[in-house]
Structures are given as structure tokens and as C-alpha cells.
Amino acid sequence: MKFLRMTLVAALRALRRNKMRSALTILGIVIGVAAVITTVGLGQGASEAVQSQIRSLGTNLLVVVPGTRTRGGAHSGWGGASTLSVMDARALEREATGIRAVSYIRRGSAQVLYGNSNWRTTIQATTPSYLDVSDSAMAQGDFFDERDMKNGARVAVLGGTLVGQLFEVGEDPIGAVLRIKEASFRVIGVLESKGGSSFGSDRDDLLLVPFTTGERRILGATLPGVVEQIIVSARTETSAHEASLEIEDILRQRHRIRPDQENDFTVHSQEEIANTMGSVTRILSSVLMGVASISLLVGGIGIMNILLVSVIERTREIGIRMAVGAKGSHILVQFLVEAMILSMIGGIIGIILGLVGTQVIAHFAEIPFVFSPGAIVGAVLFSGSVGIFFGFYPARKASNLDPIASLRYE
């Protein structure tokens, strides 16, 4: 112990003799560790963000879209008539037992006018059950009901962004009359904000109308009864998978698909969406992690390089130390301690910079800042072991020097 403390003092002294060199070596480690901390932090933050967005889509959710799934997960098969219809949705509602509620939508975009304001937004024609199925809630007023649906009532429910664009602050949108494609619509409700943006798209920038009304007045009825998505809410989260199998059965029958033919529709589950997004962020963060680790590796090689130079430069000193009684192990420990001091100082500064960097980037990228003590402990241990790992070879070299040759070294 006494020797260790002495070695620590000696190592600090040796490092102080070459301040600039020590500082540059430390800088290498600082950059490496900061990069690792930042990428780990941002990776965790990003996946947290993705997960919470997916959760906010509503649990037990299954989405049926037309088209066959290709290997990459994209869809084809929009050609010809769209393969999903209102009749399909009704059939699912009637026949599938694992289903709690069914909704369907068609979307388009249109200019919405109110007074002197106008705003281009997404028009979504849907059913009264949409509110429930999509796990949305009303901030103000009511959602449209079955009667509005049957009558093709010209009523609209607005998303928060649209309210902000069309109305003055403090103005009550309920009861206001908007004009869309020459038709007038009465505002009956405002949706509660979904918040955040899902990869750039604002989920509050939309206007909802009853499906029948939307089809007739806004989106055009060249293909009546065709829907873009059928949204299904399974009875429980665990039954989502069975429900999706049921949906597949029913739709294959209805679409008269022979056993050797592929589906002309695709059922997406919440879980699947979460997995896809999760794996995308995982891949991304491990790629970044890899790059960051390389910079830490480069920092480690910097330590090794500096120590090798230092061993050669101090050959004579090593010889002197051996002549006055230093064992090989003393010399080994001395150089290892120097390596560890360099890497630990670099590690600590790197952690601080990394945390600050993560917070700054997380702030601007609007992802949550995840503080993980594990990553910090890991980084300290890792940078310490980088020191030992890269310091070992030079230290070994020093401890194996021949005292006589070292004393003669010029």
C-alpha cells in the first residue's frame, strides 16, 4: 500500500514533467469516453422517445392496410382496386370474437377556410369508434356519433394544431363554421393533443369528419366504400396476436384468396411496430456506439504510444531504479499507474463532457435525456481498463529491461 501511494506520487511527478504530452494523451481518452457516453445516452433517449410514441398510439392496436407485405416490410399492391372496404370492416366487427372495436379511415388533404384564415391540413374521414380505437380523447366538445355518420352530417372535429392556425387565441372554436371544398362544416369538438411529432409529422395537424360525409364532400366517391386502413382494437393486449390471425382468416375468406395465394392485405400489430422501430433505433445506436468505441480505442493506442516513447526516453531512469533496488514488478506497476492516471483523468473529464453533450443534443433533438448511472460506472471502469490494457505492453517492456544495458543507454 505504502508502495502504491509512493508510485502514485512518482507517476504524477513523471506526468507533470511532460505536461503538454500528458494533456494531449488525456485528450484522446476524453474524446473517446465523451463519444461513448453521448452515443449511449442519445441511443437510450431515442429509443425511449420511440417507445413512448408507440405507446401513445393506443394499446391493443391492429392496423390492416391493403397490399402485400414485401420482404423489406414495405407494401406493394396499391395497383387496381384498393382491396379493403367498409364491408370488410363491418364483417370483422360482426365475426371476429377477439375484437373490441373497429374503425376505418380514408385520408386526403384539403384547404380549410375560416374567416380570413386558411390552412392546408389532413382530412381524415372515419367512424365514431375512432376516438376509442385510437385511444384519443376530447379536449373540448364532442366527437361525431352514429347519427352524424348515417346522415352524412357536415360536422368536424379538429386537431390542436389546426385550432391554433385558424382561430385567435381565446376564441372558442366550437360552433364555428369552416369551409372545405365549397362545403360548410360545423366544428363540434377539439381533440386532445397527442403531443410531439412522430419523425417529423405533426399528429395534431388534422381534421376529422364522419366517413360518409368525407367520402361524399371532400375525398371524392369514385370508389365508394374503399378504405385506406381498418383500425382494430383487440380485447386485451395479449389477445392481439390471436385477433390478428382471426382478421386474416376472415379477410382471406371474404377476398376469396386461395390457400396458395398471398394475402392482398397486411395486418400490423402494435408489437410489430414497436419491434421495428426498436430495432431501427438499436441498430442506429450500436453503429454510433461502434464509431465511438473506435475513438476510445484510438485514445488507448495514444496512451500506448506515449508510454512506449516514455519507456525508451526513460530507459536510463529505469536502469537507475533497478540498480537501487527496484524489482521488475515495481517498474511494471509504475508504468501501469501512469497509464491508469492518464486514462482515468481522461475518463472522468470525458464523462462530464459526455453528459453535458448528451443533454445539449437531447434538448435540441427533442428526445428525453436518460441519465444512466450504469453507463457512467461502465465508462470509468472501461477507461481504467483501457489504461491497463494499453499500458500493459509498454510497462512489461520497461520491467523486462536489462539494468546494465539501461544504465549504458544514451
Partner: protein, 248 residues
């Protein structure tokens, strides 16, 4: 009592590629405690090689080296390091102080490896420096000291662990005559007053004249082993007084 040093047929062979050099060809010698021995001989006669073996820095190819009754060839590398730290002090021609490190820290060096406490290290190093008249130079770095002062720091370092044996390979080789005599006076005082065994290599007869015994090397062999002149006729009278006092 066994002699401090006993060697039996020491042979040292260096292989430089295909060429083999016999640096020592069978050295048998015995040195008692308290002796002051000078080793002289032409360049390349094997003096330094012999000193390195005595200092446990090197091992003979053949033969036996016994230090205080202990066969050094039997010891491990670490045990030899310990022996160097505890029983042997080295003084080199090139001083061999660690650069950019104070005299105090240089002298503390052997104590670090023998496990003295921090306070004891500082105290003993200071004492050792004071004994060599360097009490006012403890914080000086080697580059801020004269050659003679540097060699005195080196001697202070060699003595700080109270060794039995001081090995000095041409300690005055880099110093002028006046400073050389100063260093020799110090070594002689240590030998006379404290019974320290001193073995030194030199090329200069005036330096060898300080010793009680002179070993002459030639081609790796001892060709003469004589009692020296004990410095008569070379040393100033002031130095001789002390010496004769002990002899009588």
C-alpha cells in the same frame, strides 16, 4: 568470519553474433569487510564486467560469487534486486541521477523500494545529503548542480540505505583533479570512519593510490593483487593524518 566477497573462477562470456568475447577468464578473489580496493587495468580488460557481477546487476557465465556467505547465482531476479537495494550502493562515472528531479527525490529513490515510510524517507535522504555537505542543495535538480555536487548526490543516494558495500566504477572519470580528490577524500572517510567496504575502478594511479589494495586486470584476469601505497606522497598531509591514525 566469512569474507564479504568471495569469487571462484568467475567467467563471463559475451556473444556478439558469431564472435564470442571472454570478458572475464576465471577471477578468484576474496575481499574482507572494511577493505578499500582499487581495480585498475587497460580499457576492455573486464573491470566493469566484474563490478556488474559484484553489484548483482549481472550474472557470471561460470564460476561462483558469494556475497556474505550467500551464493548469488542461486538467487532469483527479485531477490537480487532486493540485495542491491539493501546491501550495495552504486556510484557511476556518469553520475546517473534522474533528470528534472530534485536531489532530495533522487536520494529518496532507494528508500521507496525498501519500504520506508514517507517521513522516514525524507528524513534519511536529508541526513544523507547533509553528511555530504549538500544540505543547501536538496531542491536543486541535477542540471543545476556542478559535476562534483552531482557525484556527491549520487554518493548520498548510494549510502542512504546504509549498505555494506560501495561499488564505484570510475567515480572520478568525469571530474577535474581537484574535485576528484574531494570525492576520494569522502570515500576514504567513509571507509575509515564507518568501515564501509569500497571497491572502485579507476584509470588514474593517483586515485588508485588511495586504496589499501590494488587489483590489476588484464584480458579478463587478475595479473597482480598488491597492498597499495595507501596514498602516501599523493595526498595532502591534512587528509593523511586521519588515515594513518587508523592504520596504527
Amino acid at each position: 568470519m566469512t569474507p564479504l566477497i568471495e569469487t571462484h573462477g568467475l567467467v563471463k562470456e559475451f556473444a556478439r553474433g558469431d564472435i564470442r568475447v571472454l570478458a572475464l577468464r576465471g577471477i578468484s578473489v576474496s575481499i574482507e569487510r572494511g577493505e578499500f580496493v582499487a581495480i585498475v587495468g587497460k580499457s576492455g580488460s573486464g573491470k566493469s564486467t566484474f563490478m556488474n557481477i559484484l553489484g548483482c546487476l549481472d550474472r557470471p557465465s561460470e564460476g561462483k560469487f558469494v556475497l556474505e556467505g550467500q551464493d548469488v547465482a542461486r538467487l532469483s531476479k527479485d531477490e537480487r534486486a532486493e540485495l542491491r537495494g539493501q546491501k550495495i550502493g552504486f556510484v557511476f562515472q556518469a553520475f546517473n541521477l534522474i533528470p528534472r528531479t530534485s536531489a532530495q527525490e533522487n536520494v529518496e529513490l532507494p528508500l521507496i523500494y525498501s519500504g520506508a515510510s514517507r517521513a522516514e524517507q525524507a528524513r534519511r535522504a536529508r541526513e544523507s545529503l547533509e553528511r555530504l555537505g549538500l544540505g543547501g542543495r536538496t531542491e536543486h535538480h541535477p542540471s543545476q548542480l556542478s559535476g562534483g555536487e552531482q557525484q556527491r548526490v549520487a554518493i548520498a543516494r548510494a549510502l542512504v540505505n546504509h549498505p555494506q558495500l560501495l561499488l564505484a566504477d570510475e567515480p572520478t572519470g568525469n571530474l577535474d583533479t581537484r574535485t576528484s580528490l574531494e570525492i576520494m577524500k569522502i570515500l576514504m572517510q567513509l571507509n575509515r570512519a564507518e568501515g564501509l567496504t569500497v571497491i572502485l575502478v579507476t584509470h588514474e594511479p593517483e586515485i588508485a593510490a588511495f586504496a589499501d589494495r590494488v587489483l590489476t586486470f588484464k584480458d579478463g584476469e587478475i595479473v597482480s593483487d598488491e597492498m597499495g601505497s595507501s596514498g602516501e606522497g599523493v595526498l595532502p598531509a591534512s587528509l593523511l593524518g586521519e588515515k594513518e591514525g587508523k592504520d596504527s
